[in-house]
């Protein structure tokens, strides 16, 4: 905790350095259409904040991206459990997960546009980004489960609920939490990219696209900053809630 507190001045100084460099570069370029200054980007952001349209776009995109992430989380847990229980399921899923992981987001987006409407595109893309990451995380957690404790549970005939709470969840949840951290970031990046291609009305991706065609670089930077903040905010909130659940269900951290 002490070292974290100490690092704050350092972090602020680093951020101030890059902002000043950005400001200097913008002034050197001298044309906002190529590189907007941080001051201009901040002014644009503060102009956007009080508008209803801004919050509607935030709600539209956040809702869909988080829905895709949530569905991906549920699905990947079910698939990882299935793979643990059946070697056949594991063998069938492995190539699919590799394929989904390696396929470029753009290919998925263009293909998915054939299947779903632009409005639902970011749900599907977030889902596809979350599944392989979380599937792999849950599987890692399952594989790290202490076999000696599983033997103990077998001998003492522990009911499934107690095995889950005392043995499986403490092993799986830390890996799942790390997976969620990665997957949430990926969902935001790819979800917004999907919106930029699918152009659903009232989305953040649509706002980014409009900023590009109207050469409003200030808007582009302001929306990008909003996406980064939303991604970080949801990550923090989600991980905090998950941490709370872990402590409630599994007891105190041991290290």
């Amino acid at each position: 905790m002490e070292s974290k507190k100490k690092s704050w001045p350092g972090r602020l100084a680093a951020a101030a350095f890059w902002l000043m460099l950005w400001q200097w570069a913008a002034m050197a370029v001298g044309q906002e259409v190529f590189l907007v200054s941080p001051v201009r980007a901040a002014v644009t952001l503060f102009q956007l904040l009080p508008t209803a349209g801004f919050w509607a776009r935030v709600a539209f995109s956040s809702g869909r991206i988080l829905l895709g992430f949530g569905l991906g989380a549920v699905c990947s847990i079910a698939l990882a459990v299935g793979a643990r229980l059946s070697r056949t399921v594991e063998l069938l899923l492995d190539p699919i997960m590799q394929l989904v992981k390696a396929t470029p987001v753009a290919s998925f987006v263009i293909l998915a546009l054939v299947w779903v409407r632009g409005k639902e595109l970011s749900i599907l893309i977030s889902f596809l980004m979350a599944v392989p990451v979380l599937y792999s995380a849950v599987r890692t957690g399952i594989q790290s489960t202490d076999w000696q404790l599983l033997e103990m549970a077998k001998v003492f005939r522990l009911p499934v609920g107690r095995r889950l709470r005392a043995i499986w969840l403490p092993a799986v949840l830390p890996a799942f939490r790390e997976g969620c951290r990665t997957a949430l970031g990926l969902c935001w990046k790819s979800g917004v990219a999907a919106e930029v291609i699918g152009l659903p009305d009232g989305s953040i991706g649509d706002a980014l696209y409009r900023a590009k065609i109207t050469l409003s670089t200030g808007d582009l930077f302001a929306w990008t900053f909003v996406i980064i903040c939303l991604s970080a905010l949801f990550e923090k909130v989600f991980l905090a809630l998950l941490g709370l659940a872990v402590r409630r269900v599994c007891g105190e951290e041991t290290s």
Binding site: Q148, L149, K154, V155, F156, A166, G251, T254, S255
Partner: protein
């Protein structure tokens, strides 16, 4: 209930661990054999965790065990580890805590996660878990490891009080423990026919 072992044989590849082992136990007994004879493997067979190469085991029923390792859930406290194996766990908390007190564990030691307990404290928790569990047979593998002589005598007294009259097989090399328990000793190396 009588635990019956008939002509049990176990080998690991070419290495014969024991052959034609036959004995029965209806009451508590100490299992004694030279080091490396295969006591832990025998207990694992009795617990159904390992297969024998020949022979039969009957009458184990529902088992409770102290394993060679403590095998406690690291995030749960010592008391919670015991309550975990009891169907009516929460209702028994006070009684379980009283038993921990008998073995010299009170206060903070009862609330810390098991991962942060000392070796002796973990062993006490593993022992009490086996004592409290609902079981027909108790199989205890060196349950006094890490206990000082005083704690060991208290643990032996507790076992005598709680487990008399039911099959308990306790594997140990500790002469002092065997004396403190006062149980008949089964010399496994002499029971192969």
């Amino acid at each position: 209930m009588t635990l019956q072992v008939n002509h049990l044989t176990k080998r690991f590849g070419e290495h014969l661990l024991f052959e034609n082992l036959t004995f029965s136990a209806a009451k508590p007994a100490v299992l004694w054999a030279p080091s490396g004879w295969g006591k832990t493997t025998l207990l694992r067979i009795l617990l159904g965790l390992e297969k024998a190469d020949g022979g039969t085991v009957t009458g184990v029923g529902r088992a409770a065990a102290v394993f060679q390792e403590d095998r406690l859930c690291p995030r749960l406290s010592a008391v919670e580890n015991v309550l975990l194996v009891l169907p009516d766990g929460k209702a028994r908390r006070r009684e379980v805590e009283a038993d921990f007190a008998l073995l010299g564990m009170t206060g903070e030691a009862l609330t810390l996660p098991a991962a942060r307990l000392s070796g002796g404290q973990k062993r006490r928790a593993a022992l009490l878990r086996a004592v409290w569990a609902r079981a027909d047979t108790r199989l205890l593998d060196e349950p006094f490891t890490g206990l000082d002589p005083d704690a060991m005598e208290k643990a032996a007294a507790l076992l005598n009080r709680r487990c008399a009259g039911a099959p308990v097989l306790l594997a140990t090399h500790d002469r002092a423990a065997i004396e403190a328990l006062g149980w008949p000793v089964l010399h496994l190396d002499q029971m192969q026919r």
